[in-house]
Amino acid sequence: MHQNCEMNEKVIITKIQQGSREALGMLWKSHSSKVLNLAFRMLKNRNEAEDTLMDIFVSVPGKIQSFRGESALGTWLFRLTVNECLMKLRTKKRHAELEDGHIDTLVNSAIGSKHEEQLDYDPELLEFGLSKLPAETRSMLWLKDAEDLSVKDLSEIYNMPEGTIKARLSRARTQVRCYLQENQNYA
């Protein structure tokens, strides 16, 4: 099954490189929702996320010409999405969104490194908690915990060592849990 998927993916890549609209349509069907959700998590705006999704798929036929197939097509698409969103955020000068330094200070005052039992959090509160993270970390956490990507994939997407990814994920989870606990107590 996995081999079959890989083969299909190679066929899709080749066909898109040859300019097949049908193959691009197949890619759209299988990955557009994931790309949209990732963009939405990063940009926090539905319309901007939709625009980003379209921008990415318009650029795919051109950019796929240099795609060497070293990573999965989905991973490659996620990398395009992350880069596109970061570029848009930079253009908008939302630098605060991109700065990651303040997480550590928050984490130090949080519930500690011990992992909590999975609690049944309010989705809206979780959305807020997630939005407190910087865009890049937010997307990282989303891809790991919602899209179930491996640390290796994330390392390829963000061009960072796996250790750095793990550390960031750990800090991000702690921060989100901290936010959820604090606000659930108030609710």
Binding site: R21, W28, S33, L36, M54, D145
Partner: protein, 113 residues
């Protein structure tokens, strides 16, 4: 995994139905733009080529004009005069005397009539 945060309850967005059509429309228009850019990039060459063509035509017309002037002389003048005119400078003797003699004889013949 227990360590992970459960995002399953968060809303999963689906792309708008019109989005794919918009992607196709943008891809089509970018193809057209590529064709336009192809021509725009070559417009300078086309302009230079057209200048060359105009210059060539102008030179050709000028040359033909000179040639047609020669033809006019040929039409107006007698064969002998044209032959003499063409041979001018070719020999040391330009046969000016012969021409004068011919003209003198012609004049005398006309006078005697």
């Amino acid at each position: 995994m227990r360590n992970q945060i459960d995002f399953s309850k968060l809303e999963r967005l689906q792309p708008k139905e019109s989005s794919w059509d918009m992607v196709c429309a943008r891809l089509d228009s970018s193809k057209k733009n590529k064709v336009l850019n192809f021509f725009q990039a070559r417009s300078m060459y086309a302009l230079a080529a057209s200048f060359l063509v105009v210059a060539f035509i102008a030179a050709w017309v000028t040359f033909n004009k000179l040639d047609s002037e020669t033809l006019l002389i040929k039409n107006v003048a007698s064969d002998e005069l044209v032959s003499w005119y063409n041979d001018l400078g070719e020999t040391s003797d330009d046969e000016l005397e012969n021409l004068d003699t011919y003209r003198s004889i012609s004049y005398l013949l006309q006078e005697t009539k």
